[in-house]
């Protein structure tokens, strides 16, 4: 981990192991930065969206249209023989004493799900919350010169900012009041950077490769926090790229991981594009994330947005959404994708398979259950 600071104001989390490059700077944000930031917000257009695609779920008897033989196929298919792709893990801590170990547990859970998703992995972690600061997680290309970027950024910013590097990802910590200016400056100075997430609490990392390698390069095991979600990907609907890896950010301090595949994602992408939602990939899960963001932008709560997705998104899926205060779970109406949860006095944990939970402390006495299909679950605590 590399920390680039714009001021020599030491912060507690700098340890001997972290080399710090400190640069003193006091500069002015260029005027055009503000303009870029202002022009970004798409117009709100009202929530009237036709429900004509509301065809899911089909009644089960619909399947009778198929030959009887389908039952065998269906049974096997549902049992996961064919669709054993992608793994999701989530851990929400109730016991603050476990917070320093969040990353360590999440890393083990993620690695256990390697067989379900060896292509790429990612995770969102809700870690240290700096007062009045926003964390902007950025993804950089391999040859990106971080030191140069930090220096250039210093030259244009008129506030304290800090850049923490973890492998290919940079977390830019800026005062909340200067968030838009920081984003505009990043866009102007280094358009090759991708904004992975924005939030006061959440950092979002993802990369191509085996889950264990991805966890290691970002030092997930060393991270602490209140909760986190992770994903291992076996690509089915689009290419294996970092951008196609999960989680997807759906808004400030919000992310989505998805297991399954959506069948109406192209149609939905076109509809959302008309609503001003932009997409970076051909990925179906990004569409789900974009859909939720759009619903929230139109005034839905996250819970309402998830409820609405039951009608609008066709396909099979389990979603886990990370929020500032906790996480939520939603399975499609026929519960196609597996999901198992464990709850103790210390934590609530989610896994696509029970294996992922098997190393958690006290799991032998945990309440183990499967979330019901088409039911929105939330575990939260006061922010």
């Amino acid at each position: 981990m590399q920390i680039y600071k714009t001021r020599l104001r030491a912060r507690a989390r700098i340890t001997a192991a972290t080399a710090a490059i400190a640069i003193r700077a006091h500069a002015r944000l260029r005027a055009n930065g503000d303009a870029v930031a202002a022009g970004k917000t798409p117009e709100a257009r009202g929530a009237a969206l036709s429900a004509r695609h509301d065809k899911f779920p089909k009644p089960l008897k619909y399947h009778l249209l198929f030959p009887t033989r389908i039952a065998n196929f269906f049974a096997r298919n549902m049992a996961g023989v064919i669709r054993a792709m992608c793994g999701i893990v989530g851990l929400f801590l109730k016991d603050r004493a476990l917070e320093p170990e969040l990353g360590r547990h999440l890393a083990v859970m993620l690695e256990t799900m390697t067989a379900r998703g060896p292509d790429s992995a990612g995770f969102a972690i809700y870690g240290e919350r700096a007062p009045d600061a926003t964390k902007i997680t950025l993804r950089a290309p391999a040859d990106f010169d971080v030191a140069l970027f930090a220096a250039e950024l210093n030259a244009v910013l008129d506030f304290d900012a800090e850049i923490i590097q973890r492998s290919t990802h940079l977390v830019l910590v800026a005062p909340s009041s200067a968030e838009q200016r920081a984003l505009a400056a990043v866009k102007a100075l280094a358009p090759q950077l991708t904004v992975s997430s924005v939030g006061a609490h959440m950092e979002l990392y993802k990369e191509v490769g085996l889950p264990a390698d991805v966890a290691r390069r970002f030092d997930l095991a060393g991270m602490s926090g209140t909760h986190g979600v992770g994903h291992t990907r076996m690509a089915t609907e689009s290419a294996v790229t970092t951008a196609g890896a999960h989680p997807f950010s759906t808004g400030k301090d919000q992310c989505l991981v998805h297991n399954g595949s959506l069948s109406n994602h192209n149609l939905m992408r076109r509809r959302l594009s008309r609503e001003g939602v932009s997409f970076a990939t051909e990925n179906d899960s990004e569409v789900a994330a974009g859909y939720l963001s759009w619903r929230i932008r139109e005034g839905d709560s996250l819970g309402e947005a998830l409820e609405a997705s039951l009608k609008e998104l066709d396909g099979f899926y389990t979603f886990v959404v990370g929020t500032d205060t906790g996480f939520g779970v939603l399975r499609d109406p026929i519960g196609c994708k597996h999901a198992v949860m464990a709850e103790t006095d210390q934590y609530v944990a989610f896994g696509t398979e029970y294996r992922a939970l098997s190393a958690l402390p006290g799991i032998e006495h945990a309440r183990i259950f499967e979330p019901d299909p088409a039911t929105v679950y939330f575990w939260e605590r006061a922010a």
Binding site: P59, L60, K61, Y62, H63, L64, L65, T68, A71, N72, F74, A75, R76, M78, A79, G80, I334, G335, H338, V340, E353, Y354, R355, A356, L357, S358, A359, I368, F369, E370, D372, P373
Partner: protein, 235 residues
């Protein structure tokens, strides 16, 4: 479980499930039928899948997917919870689970018996073809979907769309049924059915645990066996 022949112990913390299954597959007919004990399963998949021998395999802990799948003859005891597809396509033998089981327990199973002390999740007994499943807790939605033969007995409640598109399997539920699937109806519980139910409970060692008179019987209305244009609206 009565007789205590010395058990072979297999620790999955130090060996792979493949090694275990290879050992189990090598047990030949007429061998001295050992008892097997499996430790530290930790949710691993396919434990004791494909066994074809009269052995008893006791697993201490939670198992993953397809435990005892395709089982023939063997008695498999799980002292914990089981994942998806428990005993799928089982032909004969007995599977006993002390905890809860995930979806699609006994999927397409042709014979033998599955006894679950806890709850079973959705699609329990999907496309079952002759297995006798007994769940002492409740079962999830879409259970006995397209079930063809065998019995599914539930001490607790059943979730939505029970027995959707069912053929000739018999469903006995003691608690409530959230909803019945297409072509599944309640049928009168007659002496012959009470006798059959008692027989099933006795075989599972559960006779006397509950009052047979509390159960209700569900089965196929046989209206959707073949496509008929008059039923087009029902599909």
């Amino acid at each position: 479980m009565t007789t205590e022949a010395p058990a072979k112990t297999f620790d999955l913390a130090t060996s792979s499930v493949r090694e275990l299954n290879q050992f189990l597959h090598r047990v030949k007919e007429g061998a001295n039928l050992p008892r097997w004990r499996v430790l530290n399963p930790r949710g691993v998949h396919a434990i004791a899948a494909g066994v074809d021998a009269d052995v008893t395999i006791e697993i201490d802990g939670d198992v993953g997917y397809y435990c005892a799948g395709m089982n023939k003859q063997a008695t498999v005891i799980v002292n914990g919870n089981a994942g998806l597809g428990l005993g799928e396509n089982m032909m004969s033998g007995l599977i006993y689970v002390k905890g809860d089981v995930s979806q699609a327990a006994g999927a397409t199973a042709h014979g033998g018996a599955i006894v679950i002390e806890g709850n079973a999740s959705g699609r329990c007994g999907i496309s079952m073809k002759g297995v006798d499943i007994l769940v002492k807790g409740s079962i999830g939605p879409m259970s006995a979907f397209m079930a063809q033969a065998g019995t599914l007995t539930v001490f607790g409640d059943a979730g939505e769309a029970l027995g959707d598109s069912i053929y000739e399997a018999k469903l006995y539920v003691r608690g409530s049924v959230k909803s019945l699937g297409a072509d599944c109806i309640e049928k009168p519980m007659e002496d012959i059915h009470r006798a059959e139910l008692y027989e099933r409970l006795k075989l599972a060692g559960a006779a006397g645990e509950v009052d047979i008179g509390d159960f209700r019987r569900y089965g196929s209305a046989r209206a959707l066996y073949h496509f008929h244009v008059d039923n087009a609206g029902a599909y």
